[in-house]
């Protein structure tokens, strides 16, 4: 074994061992747990059955929650893209102090805990909060619109929490582009809009994809924001898992829910990547 290899091994082993013991093994145990049974009287029944999974697919209630979570996540991904792209583009057009300031402003929400930010939305979206006052004031509705304890509230809250990730991802991608390409397009007759659509946008696709994957995954697994803005009235999968584990104490079922959450998220992400790698813009990713 080369000395460099030995040193490297020594350096990474504490971390690897730690994660092996306190991450990989627990996850493996949960996977096994999801196949166990449960009875309200005797607790966990070590067995190997698919009962938990059947329960999820057979019951509209649980399926509905999964569907809702996916729906929310897709919406949030779309919204963060729609809001994040122009902002990332703006960042590439400014320089110096202005740019530093805007970057700090975009990043600062990440530093404040998600609870505080979501609480802020809780206040803003309350029936007597600012947003409703604005809506009523503008005459857009007759009575206060239900924003907290609703899917809309969760979407707004999650969009807010996750949009900085999208901005960063797209910004990094735009930064790497070659400015001469847009100049070349111009000399060939492409106006600013055409140049953007034909050159800048396709070349920023890696950033869009990376950002979308991050936002979608985080959105699917989000707990804090949906818990505060949706609570028990609008449940998402993460909240369901919390309830099963800490309230109903049906750990095997909770484990099945957890595994399914991971599975669905992975499937969507892989499908997304696969679709793009074969698609029209495949060249952009090489």
């Amino acid at each position: 074994m080369r000395p460099g290899f030995r040193a490297a091994l020594g350096l990474v082993s504490p971390a690897c061992l730690w994660l092996l013991a306190f991450f990989l093994i627990p996850l493996g145990l949960v996977l096994r747990l999801s196949f166990f049974g449960f009875s309200p009287t005797s607790g966990i029944v070590p067995a190997l059955e698919l009962g938990n999974y059947w329960k999820i697919f057979a019951d509209e209630y649980y399926l509905g929650i999964f569907v809702r979570t996916v729906r929310i996540s897709l919406l949030v991904t779309f919204l963060t893209l729609a809001l994040g792209y122009p902002e990332a583009y703006y960042l590439t057009r400014i320089r110096g102090r202005a740019k530093a300031l805007v970057l700090v402003a975009v990043l600062s929400p990440l530093i404040v805990s998600a609870i505080t930010r979501t609480f802020g939305w809780f206040i803003l979206l309350a029936p007597n909060g600012l947003v409703n006052s604005a809506i009523l004031g503008l005459g857009l509705a007759d009575g206060p619109v239900r924003l907290i304890y609703s899917e809309t509230g969760i979407v707004i809250g999650l969009t807010h929490v996750l949009v900085p990730f999208m901005v960063l991802s797209i910004y990094a991608s735009l930064q790497r582009r070659n400015p001469a390409l847009v100049s070349a397009a111009q000399t060939l007759g492409a106006g600013p809009v055409r140049a953007f659509l034909e050159i800048t946008l396709p070349l920023s696709l890696p950033g869009i994809v990376a950002g979308s994957v991050v936002v979608f995954t985080l959105s699917m697994s989000a707990f804090v924001t949906p818990a505060i803005l949706g609570g028990t009235r609008v449940r998402v999968v993460a909240y369901l898992i919390y309830e099963e584990f800490l309230l109903s104490l049906n750990w095997p079922f909770g484990a099945a829910l957890a595994l399914l959450l991971v599975l669905i998220t992975m499937v969507v992400v892989v499908a997304y990547n696969r679709w793009l790698e074969r698609g029209r813009w495949a060249e952009v990713f090489r």
Partner: protein, 286 residues
């Protein structure tokens, strides 16, 4: 002299000049206005929470005419918040020290040595970021319950290390990426052995990245809610959990005051981060 290459690649743009300084041109373009609105959207919830903390009322209202420190003083009457703060602090300190120690070693191993399986190890060490925090929490709860670590301080710290270590590795890794190996070689040709080189050259140069990583880990641990909900017990309530419970059962500005204090604290801590490493490096945009 303006660099020749740059002259040609800036396109004729309607808004900002190629020169620095946002205070030069007064014109606000559509993109510029969007930026202002976007930043407003990002900062709104945090600003709202901080404002509500100063309200003299007993309910969640944004103070317009009179401001009061009533709710800040009220914190003193709620010792459970203060003890929760102490708990969070202790846990965060413990977890960040541990995570920084083993995370830095791992980052050193990954960034500076080329060994077979390097990519796999790197992905493995960063994998907790990919798994939903709910799932990690659930897995740890199940695992701890079988080895007797559930609801213990040790258990919580272990869990926090799992959660924060990837951030340390990413941050330290990014800062080490620019590490100049020739400095170590120079030290060795001047007569330092491996240990001395490590102590006098490698470690000091890694210090900014390590500190940034430690601060990052601290913030993540301090704000951590989801995993902690599962692994903690009634005697070990952290501040985020206390806040979360308060929001879901009682809604008064007390929580806003606590959150406002946290915001001020976090801002102070981040300024340290920025001074040490610089934002561009952290984001990987450099």
């Amino acid at each position: 002299m303006p660099p020749e290459g740059q002259a040609l690649t800036s396109t004729v743009s309607a808004d900002v000049p190629a020169s620095a300084g946002m205070f030069r041109r007064q014109r606000l373009t559509p993109l510029g206005s969007f930026n202002v609105l976007f930043i407003g959207f990002l900062l709104a919830p945090v600003v709202v929470v901080v404002l509500v903390a100063f309200t003299p009322e007993g309910w969640l209202k944004i103070p317009t005419t009179s401001f009061s420190l009533r709710w800040f003083r009220a914190i003193g009457e709620h010792p459970e918040f203060i003890s929760a703060f102490r708990n969070s602090l202790g846990i965060a300190v413990g977890a960040s020290i541990l995570a920084t120690a083993i995370g830095t070693l791992a980052a050193l191993g990954i960034v500076r040595y080329r060994f077979p399986g390097r990519e796999v190890v790197s992905s493995f060490l960063l994998s907790p970021l990919m798994v939903p925090t709910v799932v990690s929490g659930v897995a740890l709860l199940y695992f701890f319950s079988r080895i007797g670590l559930a609801s213990t301080l040790a258990g919580v710290i272990v869990a926090h290390v799992v959660v924060t270590m990837p951030y340390v590795i990413r941050t330290v890794g990014a800062s080490l990426a620019g590490f100049d190996r020739s400095l170590e070689l120079a030290a060795m040709t001047l007569g330092a052995n491996r240990l001395q080189t490590f102590w006098h050259v490698t470690l000091p140069l890694s210090l900014p990245g390590m500190t940034a990583g430690a601060v990052f880990a601290f913030i993540v641990s301090f704000d951590e809610l989801t995993v902690t909900l599962f692994v903690t017990g009634p005697k070990l309530v952290t501040l985020p959990i206390r806040i979360y419970n308060h929001i879901t059962y009682i809604t008064d500005p007390l929580v806003a005051a606590v959150s406002a204090l946290l915001v001020f604290l976090t801002i102070g801590v981040v300024l340290i981060l920025e001074r040490l490493v610089g934002l561009d490096r952290l984001l990987g945009t450099q």
